[in-house]
């Protein structure tokens, strides 16, 4: 394999650098030098040869290739066997470094052979050479260690996995590398870079490096270098630190449990007000570390949540909030990028953690007597900053603070008390003593005079966080009334009405302004709409308040179908309309859910109304997909670009042009998008519901259609007629509505053939279907009843038939009985006649008497015979007993009995013989 490669390279040399002669010259030159190195006798000559070789290799790609084809065995040989000759070792290492370093001034096309890469490949193939290089790190000579580190770094950049595997198998390999961190400054800095490459995406190596004390070493270097005021080495340290902690729960636990977070947090401590570019990057890197700890270990780690929780708790215990507030809020000189990151960290830290939420809620900033709650300071940033990024970051703090924090929301809402009008005019700079609520209300109405609604929209964003999912706060803020700017213009009006007014103002300004201000106002509108969507959700009173002013509905209907509004605005306006349907508890005519649906259907058309949702959904998904890509690993280059946030801010604004504003992606966060998606489904269902159960004037109750028991036929007919008349007018009404719907369907259905269209028209079909189904159900119900009745009657009929049958059979048996009685009667009569006609029947009687007498005689003789037999038996038993007694006494019984009766004796003998 290796031989093939080498010959392959030789071929490539010829191919790529076409000039056969020059390359073969170079080849043979390098070959000669290598020969001198390996076979030279004089030490001086060999040293010269190696210096020369290094020079040649540094000059051209072809020389690098030629060296790669032949030089490695010779160089490795020197490293292995000539350790004592430091100069030779240095020379060999330097040559190897040169062979692995791309020659930068040649700008080749991408498919050109890269000799430096090929040489890295060759050198890293043998685990043995890696082991050899690691062993060189123990050499006393500075240059030997320095070049070796450079060589290893070059190999790691190109073939990280191969190197990682090789180093793991070398006993104490990582320990040696770690020792380099405690070496002289130059070596240490090289080692930092090498380790960063070594641990890249290798969790187990990250753990070993930490086992070897990486954290202590990193923090001691950072401290030595002056913390965040230090140079690029501090940045390298922090990058190594971040790579050790990213998605590595085990290392995070170790840092937290045994090293502690103090050293990390102290990096955030500011000394002086001078922010260099490097210091900005260092601070951003340290903030990234905080963020990594807040995120916890890898997704697959079962203890991830526990670990993340512990990290958050420990960070807050160690007062990280104070440092973050200093960086993000209090410090006047911190660059925007740092301020934004610090605020995002605050947001992450408090999100979903009740203790940390409380901790932030209780924080006060500033010095006596100029002290105010931290949240007020953050609100002021929102209202005052000129950077959109900073607004978004500060807004994120409020989002995190209010989410699932009803107590916090109530605390903020409780301060929302309108101030007397003149107070509102005080400049924002002097409002340290202003409550959160006054400041927010102030912000909400800021645009009143100059028509700049940007601040108003930012305040509206904060207000929507305060109201989110909190019915109590929603109700409370509904009560707030705002004085008219000029008292003569009328009395106070509800805050909500004022917000709708600003929404209308924003859209009208946009149409006036033309293109330049378009993108800016589109997010103003979006934010105010978001506020309305949040406010109306689940809150019938808010819906009622909104519909209280008739023009609101009209305006919203216009906005939904406005061609100048963006997809997003139209969609959000449609959501607000939908909320007016689903959360409408009003029964006032003209304001109830049915009236709203009717208005939508007449002014917008139901299918085009639903189309707005689909369009927005597509764009929202798009926005979301874009925003998830922003989190990337932190590297030197990305750090630099992070620091330039300020510039990007402006670029983004101009680039986006007609599209929805980039700010929207952070304002319409996933939480809100989910809310909208949920609402949309409800709205669709509710509207179908409204149409399928129209307000019915005539109740259809089948039972009432029957004739009542005491009702005369004419009354019954009258009643039915009245009913039919009512139903007729009802049907007339429904037909009119049906026509509107059909018209709507025809208008939109024909033109386009997008999927969403079909779905929407399917919706109105569904309405019709629904009514048809109801009709069907009703009639089938009636059929059912009739069927049951029929069955009942049938069963009764059968019963009666059975009864009749039974009675019939009874009757038959009676007549039978009668017949037989008659017959016997006839016979008796006949007998009587026969008796009367003469008796010739005595013979049988004589014979009978004779037979009787005979029977009697027979019975008598039998009895006598029996008696005799009994007597005989008794005599016999007597004889037997006596004979036995005699036998006992020794008498000869047979002799005694001889002669008593020869007959019996003979008979006895005969019997004896028989039995023997």
């Amino acid at each position: 394999m290796k031989m093939d490669l080498v010959s392959g390279y030789k071929g490539v040399v010829g191919l790529v650098f076409g000039n056969e002669n020059s390359s073969s010259n170079e080849d043979s030159y390098i070959e000669r030098l290598l020969d001198r190195i390996s076979n030279g006798k004089l030490a001086e000559d060999r040293r010269n040869a190696i210096t020369e070789l290094q020079l040649v290799v540094s000059e051209s790609n072809s020389a690098q290739l030629a060296f790669g084809a032949m030089g490695f065995p010779v160089m490795l040989g020197v490293l292995k066997e000539e350790r004592d000759d430091i100069e030779m070792v240095r020379g060999a290492l330097e040559t190897l470094v040169t062979a692995l370093t791309p020659i930068s001034h040649v700008k080749g096309s991408s498919n050109e052979v890269q000799p430096a890469l090929m040489n890295s490949d060759l050198l890293s193939r043998e685990a043995e050479s890696i082991s050899l290089l690691i062993s060189l790190l123990s050499e006393d000579d500075f240059y030997v260690r320095y070049y070796t580190l450079q060589l290893l770094t070059a190999l790691l950049t190109n073939f990280p996995q191969r190197l990682q595997e090789a180093i793991l198998t070398i006993p104490r390999g990582i320990t040696r590398l770690m020792d380099m961190l405690m070496d002289r400054e130059v070596i240490r800095n090289e080692a930092l870079l090498l380790l960063t490459h070594l641990i890249h995406e290798a969790e187990e190596i990250q753990k070993i490096v930490v086992f070897e004390g990486a954290f202590e070493k990193i923090f001691s270097i950072i401290k030595e270098e002056g913390g965040s005021d230090g140079g690029v080495v501090v940045q390298d340290c922090l990058e190594l630190l971040n790579n050790l902690l990213r998605n590595n729960g085990s290392n995070q636990i170790l840092l937290r449990e045994t090293i502690g977070l103090d050293s990390l947090i102290s990096i955030l401590k500011l000394r002086g007000s001078n922010f260099t570019q490097q210091k900005t990057i260092n601070l951003l890197s340290a903030l990234e570390t905080i963020k990594l700890l807040i995120m916890g270990g890898s997704e697959t780690d079962p203890g991830k949540d526990l670990n993340r929780q512990a990290n958050k708790t420990t960070l807050v215990q160690k007062k990280v909030l104070d440092y973050l507030l200093m960086l993000g809020v209090e410090n006047q000189w911190a660059p925007v990028a740092v301020r934004c990151e610090a605020m995002r960290c605050i947001g992450d830290l408090i999100a979903g953690d009740s203790k940390n939420l409380d901790a932030l809620g209780r924080k006060f900033l500033g010095e006596e007597p100029q002290v105010e709650p931290a949240l007020n300071s953050i609100l002021r940033i929102i209202l005052r900053t000129s950077s959109m990024q900073e607004f978004v970051a500060a807004d994120y703090v409020f989002k995190s603070f209010c989410e699932k924090n009803a107590d916090g929301q109530s605390m903020l809402a409780s301060t929302l008390i309108p101030q007397p009008y003149p107070m509102n005019r005080a400049p924002l700079e002097e409002d340290v003593n202003m409550s959160f609520g006054s400041m927010l209300l102030h912000g909400l109405t800021w645009g009143e005079t100059d028509g700049d609604l940007e601040i108003c929209s930012r305040a509206a964003s904060v207000l929507s966080h305060v109201l989110k999912d909190n019915l109590q706060c929603k109700e409370r803020v509904l009560q707030i009334e705002i004085e008219a700017p000029v008292p003569s213009l009328g009395g106070p009006e509800p805050l909500m009405h004022r917000m709708v007014k600003y929404l209308a103002l924003a859209s009208s300004m946009k149409s006036k302004d033309g293109k330049s201000g378009a993108s800016r106002n589109s997010y103003v509108e979006a934010i105010i709409l978001k506020l309305l969507v949040t406010w109306l959700a689940d809150c019938p009173n808010a819906v009622h308040c909104f519909l209280d002013a008739r023009p609101h509905l009209t305006y919203l209907l216009e906005l939904v179908s406005s061609s100048s509004a963006t997809v997003c605005i139209r969609g959000l306006a449609a959501v607000v309309l939908g909320e007016c349907v689903i959360y409408n508890k009003s029964s006032e005519s003209g304001k109830d859910a049915f009236a709203i649906v009717d208005a939508v259907s007449q002014k917008v058309g139901l299918s085009s109304y639903f189309l707005k949702f689909d369009e927005m959904q597509k764009s929202l998904i798009f926005i979301n997909a874009g925003s998830t890509l922003t989190r990337k690993a932190f590297t030197r280059s990305s750090a630099a670009s992070m620091a330039d946030i300020q510039d990007e801010d402006e670029n983004d604004l101009s680039e986006q042009g007609n599209l929805d504003h980039p700010i929207l992606s952070s304002i319409l966060n996933s939480y809100f998008v989910n809310l909208v998606t949920r609402l949309e489904a409800d709205i669709r269902d509710q509207i179908v519901e409204v149409y399928s159960h129209p307000k019915i004037n005539v109740a259809v109750v089948p039972a009432e259609l029957e004739q009542k028991t005491n009702e005369s036929d004419s009354d019954y007919v009258k009643r039915l007629k009245a009913f039919v008349e009512k139903q007729c007018s009802e049907i007339q009404n429904l037909l009119v509505r049906n026509a509107t719907l059909a018209e709507d369907l025809a208008k939109t259905g024909g033109g386009q053939n997008s999927q969403s269209e079909q779905r929407v028209s399917g919706g109105s079909d569904r309405i019709q279907l629904e009514t048809l189904r109801r009709d069907l159900q009703e009639s089938s119900q009636r059929i059912e009843i009739l069927k049951a009745e029929k069955a009942k009657v049938e069963s009764e009929a059968i019963m009666y038939r059975n009864l009749a049958g039974k009675i019939e059979s009874d009757l038959r048996s009676l007549s039978d009985a009668y017949n037989s009685l008659e017959q016997s009667n006839i016979q008796l009569e006949k007998e009587m006649k026969a008796l009367k006609s003469g008796g010739s029947s005595t013979f049988p009687d004589v014979e009978a008497i004779r037979a009787e007498a005979r029977e009697e005689a027979q019975k008598e003789s039998e009895g006598e015979l029996n008696d005799l037999l009994v007597c005989l038996g008794q005599e016999q038993s007597k004889v037997d007993r006596l004979s036995a007694r005699l036998l006992e006494l020794g008498e000869d019984v047979d002799k005694l009995l001889e002669g008593i009766g020869d007959d019996t004796g003979a008979a006895g003998d005969a019997e004896d013989e028989d039995t023997d």
Partner: protein, 211 residues
């Protein structure tokens, strides 16, 4: 975070003998009957007191499977103590002790304190290795011995603390150069350096390649 000393421990032994459970019982005081197979190495930490001095234990629980051996071996050298664990209900885990010990002797520093633990002693009815055999093996190889149960917590505290006490005694006796962190011992900020604190002068130059 103030401690007098910090000791690094490793836990080694066959897969399934209960290494992770011992660590969990020691650091979290709980037992998890079903534990995922350890991948690579897991970390745990706890503070204990020896001789009235706070001592921080950093414990690395290693995977017992052969495939992780190249990773786990990297932890031997820098550890001050090792818990070598076998399962008293599985004879083969006891039979493998010799090879584990050989591995440790080869890769660890010579002064590493090794505690032999016969785990799962709550399962007496399934015992396959007698206490005497364990004692005998420990005696032959100069190890401290204990039978323990990660399930009932019996002897778990004792095992970790006894190991620490043994290391502490070695420090008092001047066996270690505590300024050299490659022995897995670190003198804390809040602690008093051991009697050998002044002897580091000789080794500071060649600190990188001591062995």
């Amino acid at each position: 975070m103030s401690y007098a000393y910090l000791f690094k421990y490793i836990i080694i032994g066959d897969t399934g003998v209960g290494k992770s459970c011992l660590l969990l019982q020691f650091t979290d005081k709980r037992f998890q009957p079903v534990h995922d197979l350890t991948i690579g190495v897991e970390f745990g930490a706890r503070m204990i007191t020896i001789d009235n001095k706070p001592i921080k234990l950093q414990i690395w629980d290693t995977a017992g499977q052969e495939s992780f051996r190249s990773i786990t071996r990297s932890y031997y050298r820098g550890a001050a103590g090792a818990l070598l664990v076998y399962d008293i209900t599985r004879r083969e885990t006891f039979n493998h002790l010799a090879s584990w010990l050989e591995d440790a002797r080869q890769h660890a520093n010579a002064n590493m304190t090794i505690m032999l633990i016969g785990n799962k002693c709550d399962l007496a009815h399934r015992r396959a290795v007698s206490t005497e055999e364990g004692e005998q093996f420990a005696k032959e190889h100069g190890l401290i011995f204990m039978e323990a149960s990660a399930k009932t917590a019996q002897n778990v505290e004792e095992a970790f603390i006894k190991t620490a006490a043994s290391i502490y005694k070695k420090i008092q006796d001047g066996v270690f150069d505590v300024s050299n962190e490659s022995y897995g011992i670190k003198v804390g900020y809040g602690g008093i350096p051991g009697p050998s604190g002044g002897r580091d002068g000789s080794s500071s130059q060649s600190g990188a390649c001591c062995s």
